[in-house]
Symmetry: D2
Subunit: 349 residues, 4 copies
């Protein structure tokens, strides 16, 4: 921490600040300039609230030097992390696509979804069984029955499963059926949930809150990592801005920023990031071009009759076409994307 | 819902939209203008996702007419709600102040806080036992022990107690000690928690999420109300904007907006809303001048050594002075504020 | 400037940064810690772009110490500035209210407006002759004819005049009729205009841009001050946030922030800050309670037929009532507000 | 416009609203539902301020149906516009790149820049002669001398020129040297300037303001178009959000949104959009992948010693590499990008 004193700060005020820093466990190095004193403080607690010094008399500004997160930082672990599943890795050279409906609705719907996404080259089936809905009057998901249907559908196609967990009480249940536990944007700072997921052995997909800074997002990842679970995948899904034409503003620049600050893999969610079906494809392409390690996309066999988020779900042929476009783009940045035998025939038809 | 078709929409497209609306349970009224058709749709589900129509071919725009919340709206209940405690009401003519430290730390600290806030005229003691901290390395609260200390301190002074509940598993415990259960900004859309609080008989203080629109906030209140708990107090505590000088931007205008849209009482939290001690007093005055039904303020007997949020906690004499200023301001808008016998002597000294 | 090197920065990288700083005219002080080096750099150019250092190899972060503005800062001039007119001062103990219609429309309209605002106790008549309208198809103002009408109306009531200047070419003209030249929010960073106003001898009312940080706002003031015109009044008029219920979010907290950072007076504009008539009064009260030095308010004798901004203009009786409320609130923070003989009789009737 | 009355609105209130609409020149169609009346109003002025109705008693909400812009809309002109230069078009199948330094500094610097950008395949040389700087103490540009240097350098390489015009008084001068007149983000709502550019015959590059909605941006384009100048190129350059890691948040989703709403071409500026050199390349790729018609990029032969924006200027080899990557990406969305003979040899070396 660097404490910049005001130009008119008295010697007594400087001494008071030094004493306070020492009491809080910092080593202090004072540098007295012509205009003002600057104090460098090292040691102390990583989570020390610097505002405590900021409000002291004679203090002009306090500048934190160390990031408040550690395990999530690239300083701590310079090489990128990958998360391995049977035959593929998230965070490696291959771009991994997760796709499926917003909610699991019926056996037929999830089976058709699984077949669609498999054929086009996705590796992981997405689908919600517990849905966080802003209105209490909306469809809230099928619960365990939905999880069971999704597992069956995924197994039939050789896919992995990602599904959301909304509460501590659901962790064990969802982990029985899913390979990745998703934490939704609204729960990004549900610390009770994050702490519990830190004890789990199942990988976690941590969505960015719509008003979360990149630093806060990495701090939430830190909750999971510090609990002992090192398999965290970050997911950019749009931030809230003044622009209301799109539901959110997908912050594509967060992708290269995360890659600089952290070793964790990052994927993008253009479905929630835009909220509009016809914007999903261009933004999916943009995310991969910017270097994302993967995508999570809402695809539905019949979006017009989806029980949730139909408006942002794309049709299966749109998904096929998107995957074909990504196969051209990925090599531009030295990456590959799965080219399934079936898919090869499929999307070319 | 009003569906505005594009100028070039074909008759077939119009018919397709009408059919879809009818299928979803709406009665449709078509008005064919010179330039375009406009469809009025009534009935249907209050939580219908209008984007489903928005993405249809030929549709220019879809405009929702009905608010998605019902029980929280002033249309449903025109007269303002009040929440009664033994000797006072929140939402009535009297401005109610809740004050105390960010976290309960020791018996001495909470007892001193209770005495301070009582003397100055506050009616409710605030203090956290379970703390949602953005860093896993920060102080996380004393838990039940803290609740017990706070109850004892409050009872000694004849104060009510408000404390935060972070998770479903804590509801019963916190409700044993507190008179009001606080839902923090980060949990405003923790629907599992809200639903459970709807079954409780304890009043709920619902803080606005830092990126929540007023509509989303009222929808979260709707979760509690629709569960059967009608005692919800809203709390504006600052939204996230581009301005970073203050920690958040306290949206004072939300106060008159809520009073127009909803019958629920609304208070303001200038401590979290600014994050800086010297901004708490002016913003507290502003909130009352704008019509807030109360305040929640962090006061600490020794802010420099507070275990959390010391930088935004005010000193007891600052609190005394603020309460004195509020006693001048409140009558300007036809409200009163408690003038305790002790306080009368206290702050004038 | 403080340059924090990365933990793994090589000695060569540190030397490269030092060399670059020295070349740019800085004196460098190096402090080598256990984990990393920190460089303090003083001297150099106040407007040096610190990002130049930020992108160098081995640099973790660059922290600017000095505010980029000087003449506008309280460090430069600790006592508050006031701007004197014949019988009153802006920035002193008295709260000064500027009021009138959005646009000057007719002689009758502006005369009626002047009488209304005078009667209620305002000191300055506002009104636009050149209007910045987001649509090219909207009413654009009466130009010089409007200025002449407004001057006549103001003189008849003994009021001062504030009016907007949109372009360098209008400065001389508007200054012939007005006592204060207003720079609108959209022009806050029109540097050609600001520079020219710096050469003027007429006071400037500088509105905050809807996306301007407080620092950028003070930098814009610096443009005027550095040109030699020291009479700048700042005006908070709402910032753009995600909340769309109100047109903008009036950042009341900017008032105490400006008072801490700068010696310049600051007023608030609750009309543009909210965009809705029924929110003007509560926000005007809030601004004064937070310490604003004044207000600028749209009042119109017949808002329903105003040529611009009728929806946010209040009716004369609403203005009377607001002024009465402010007379109660102002003393709470040690300020007065004009109590004209006529007004005393007027608003009580 | 659709006016939704409140459920409790009296018949008198409905009649009052109808009368007001008729007086303002609208034809009104009333639809009386079980719960409330809805009024459809057509005709009237495109720029009518709907808030005038919104504040009337008994009105619940007013919904505007028509976009406030006309000439810029795709409803008005369904096929995409292109802007032709001697040998290429902006807005056609070919992706057009504009590149060069932030400011013109010396003859050598601009000549080296022109050679670099030409070699890599760019078609247009960018460079500022008049610089809008937030600080009055920063380098403000070389003025006409800079324009002359840039024209000479561009002609030597067969490039077109784009340069910023900050004020009405500069239009004629800049148009003598440049092929495209750039309007900076801070001037997006400088209506005096826009109106004057509408009379010019030189194409205009209109940057989006950092807080401008897409609708406001198109309204600013409308100012130019309605003056008679139909050659407007839009440029997304980042919006201001709460995230401060990047200087702005480049709103990539604005690209497909503009393509849906308007026929005008749109390019992206990843240099200002991120403000950080190492983020320029990924965001440039993302913009093209999302469908942008081109890019404008800051390239400098010696960024470390640039007089402005060096930190966001890329080095010539980085630019070569980016162009090579774009040549892979562009075909994925059916577009080409110039492959100069020299460039072919250049970037492969």
């Amino acid at each position: 921490m660097v404490v910049v004193m005001e130009e008119r700060a008295s010697e007594e005020q400087v001494q008071h600040v030094i004493a306070q820093l020492v009491e809080k466990g910092f080593d202090v190095h004072r540098s007295t300039g012509q205009l003002r004193s600057v104090l460098g403080a090292v040691g102390g607690n990583r989570s020390f609230d610097t505002r405590l010094i900021e409000v002291m008399d004679g203090v002009h500004e306090v500048l934190r030097i160390t990031e408040p997160y550690k395990l999530a930082s690239r300083t701590f672990k310079p090489e990128r992390s990958t998360i391995s599943f049977d035959e593929f890795r998230v965070g490696g050279d291959e771009v991994i696509v997760m796709a499926g409906p917003c909610s699991v609705e019926t056996e037929e719907q999830i089976a058709a979804s699984a077949a669609t996404v498999k054929k086009a080259g996705a590796k992981i089936l997405r689908g919600g069984a517990f849905k966080p809905r802003s209105s209490p009057y909306s469809f809230q998901g099928l619960g365990e029955e939905g999880l069971r249907m999704m597992r069956t559908a995924a197994d039939a196609e050789g896919l992995k499963v990602v599904s959301e967990v909304m509460d501590v009480s659901q962790i064990e249940l969802v982990a029985r059926y899913a390979d990745i536990l998703q934490v939704g944007a609204r729960n990004m700072q549900n610390y009770t949930l994050l702490r519990e997921l830190g004890k789990s052995h199942t990988p976690v997909l941590l969505k960015r809150g719509i008003a979360a800074t990149i630093e806060e997002w990495l701090l939430s990842a830190e909750y999971v990592l510090s609990g002992g679970n090192s398999d965290v995948i970050l997911c950019e899904r749009g931030i809230r801005t003044f622009e209301s034409y799109t539901r959110n503003t997908l912050d594509i620049s967060a992708i290269p920023v995360i890659h600089k600050l952290s070793h964790l893999p990052i994927i993008a969610d253009p479905s929630h990031g835009t909220g509009l079906r016809d914007k999903v494809t261009p933004m999916a392409r943009a995310a991969i071009a910017a270097g994302a390690d993967g995508l999570i996309i809402e695809v539905h066999p019949d979006p017009d009759n989806a029980l949730s988020d139909g408006a942002q779900s794309i049709f299966p042929p749109q998904f096929d076409r998107l995957m074909a476009e990504l196969r051209i783009i990925a090599p531009a940045i030295g990456r590959s994307i799965c080219l399934e035998p079936v898919a090869r025939r499929g999307w070319g038809a």
